[in-house]
């Protein structure tokens, strides 16, 4: 039998991990919902922005918060770059070509990062404390990352529901053609969406930098789980992705302490496959 303290600690860690995963999933889902293309290389943009944080802090001596803000800008620029250079030219082509193009970008970015920076693991090495509450240990870095991720998602929610351009983004996600009839140039809306999605990747990079070291294959560690969350929540469904993030992170975390980290992922993948048969449209859809 496992010590309940360990389980409580795992549950809290799962919750904290879920916050950052949700940020990634919402960014990817936002782009998919509006542009209808899955950015296979989304988490590899996070990897690039993590390198930006690393170099700004370790080489140029920037404070971490400033490097984090810069990462948001870097992410937005990367998002715009990916859209203009890769997505925009293939908007009209078959879905399989779109997958090949963004999948190809993934391999390109991984190889490019290896070429430039080798496969070394690099960390910003912050000396953040570990908090202890009633025998439960919680990393301060994780707690901060969670709080900022939640605040950012509240910000995203307000942006999408309270601002004009945010509402237009939701309208395009619902009916692109009808929104063109209102006078909105879809290309402009796509560009704004890509910048916002990229900025979210940049913020996620900053939050991950204080917890993990970066290496060229960082995307392989967080990419698959991010896609599973999006599909589990229903592609394009923001609330679904949010809920699915915490389901997945809890499974991984609790499964991790109960058995092993690998087993946590195995259970998460197994649940994903089962859910694909039970609720192919996502966990929040009603069964027919």
């Amino acid at each position: 039998m496992i010590d309940p303290i360990f389980l409580a600690e795992a549950a809290i860690n799962g919750l904290l991990l879920g916050g950052v995963l949700a940020l990634l999933a919402l960014g990817l889902n936002l782009i998919f919902g509006v542009i209808d293309i899955v950015w296979i290389a989304y988490v590899d943009l996070v990897m690039l922005a993590m390198y930006a944080v690393y170099f700004l802090v370790m080489v140029y001596g920037w404070p971490i918060w400033l490097a984090g803000l810069a990462a948001i800008g870097v992410g937005a620029l990367l998002g715009i770059g990916v859209h203009v250079l890769i997505i925009s030219p293939i908007l009209g082509s078959a879905p399989v070509n779109q997958l090949l193009a963004t999948g190809g970008l993934l391999f390109f970015l991984q190889s490019f990062a290896t070429f430039l920076w080798t496969t070394d693991h690099r960390s910003v090495r912050l000396a953040l404390p570990v908090l202890e509450v009633a025998g439960i240990f919680v990393s301060f870095a994780r707690l901060i990352a969670f709080v900022i991720a939640i605040l950012a998602m509240i910000g995203l929610y307000l942006f999408l529901t309270r601002t004009y351009i945010g509402t237009a983004i939701r309208a395009v996600a619902q009916d692109r053609e009808a929104m063109a009839l209102m006078g909105a140039d879809p290309r402009r809306v796509y560009l704004v969406t890509s910048a916002v999605g990229g900025a979210m990747a940049g913020l996620a990079a900053a939050l991950l930098s204080i917890q993990y070291s970066v290496h060229p294959y960082f995307g392989a560690a967080f990419g698959p789980i991010t896609f599973m969350i999006c599909v589990l929540g229903g592609l394009g469904n923001m609330v679904g992705a949010f809920v699915a993030s915490f389901i997945m992170s809890e499974i991984i975390s609790i499964g991790g302490v109960t058995w092993s980290t690998e087993m946590g992922y195995v259970i998460a993948f197994a649940l994903f496959i089962v859910m694909m048969f039970v609720r192919p449209g996502g966990i929040l859809t009603k069964r027919e």
């Binding site: 509402t167 939701r170 053609e177 929104m179 063109a180 009839l181 209102m182 006078g183």
Partner: protein, 234 residues
């Protein structure tokens, strides 16, 4: 105001419109009638720029608009209420209207325009904060029309506004379109409800398998034996 000359358009290798000639004068209401699959929707989509024409000219107020994208056409004063309404179901009624005023000039005029739309469709005013997807079919059609009015158009394209509505609702809808007409808008309307629409418009075109088969004053067309038998059901 609007003139189509020899418009040809289609999908892939399929040609849905052949050499279509059509005119709408300022202040006029014109109908396009014809059986299912005749190409009426395609015609509307060509005018609003949702699909490009392959050949021919599209002139609006003296300016050639052929080949312009949809978001540019609406800025010239043509609003398209598409077949099947195509409102934004997850947005509120108010936000749907707000999106209708996307163009900068329209956005500035939002307070007046929305007041006018709510005046025209009081049912929408009561449901401003409700999700558009929760409205009844008739209310959704009113919202689609109201949303189009928000761009402050000169010409309104209506594609089968009465589709799927209960008979009582159809009558109310035609009354509303009549009111919109009286406010000075120019209207081009596609309808299956031929008898009703011929009472509403000045002129009409009969479109069959992608070609204009007949055109004339509405009351004259309504008298044609052929039209009466085929579409009016008398």
């Amino acid at each position: 105001m609007l003139e189509l000359k020899n418009i040809t358009a289609g999908y892939g290798h399929f040609t849905a419109l052949w050499d279509v000639q059509l005119r709408v004068a300022r202040g006029e209401a014109v109908a396009v009638v014809g059986p299912n699959g005749a190409g009426k929707t395609t015609l509307m989509r060509v005018i609003s720029g949702l699909i490009p024409s392959r050949a021919g000219e599209l002139v609006f107020e003296g300016e050639s608009l052929a080949g312009r994208p949809a978001h540019d056409i609406v800025a010239h004063g043509i609003a398209h209420v598409p077949e099947g309404r195509r409102i934004f179901p997850a947005l509120t009624v108010g936000d749907n209207l707000r999106m209708g005023a996307f163009l900068p000039a329209a956005r500035q005029a939002f307070p007046e325009s929305s007041a006018r739309v709510y005046d025209l469709f009081p049912a929408l005013a009561e449901r401003q904060r409700q999700r558009a997807g929760s409205l009844s079919g008739g209310e959704q059609q009113m919202l689609a029309i109201g949303r189009a009015l928000m761009s402050r158009p000169k010409l309104i394209l209506l594609d089968e506004p009465s589709m799927g509505l209960a008979p009582v609702m159809v009558l109310r809808l035609f009354d509303l379109i009549r009111r919109i007409r009286e406010e000075g808008y120019t209207i081009l309307v596609v309808e299956q409800n031929v008898r009703q629409v011929l009472k509403l418009v000045d002129r009409a075109y009969l479109l069959e398998v992608g070609r204009i088969k007949m055109e004339g004053r509405a009351h004259e067309l309504a008298e044609q034996d052929f039209v009466r038998k085929a579409y009016v059901g008398l």
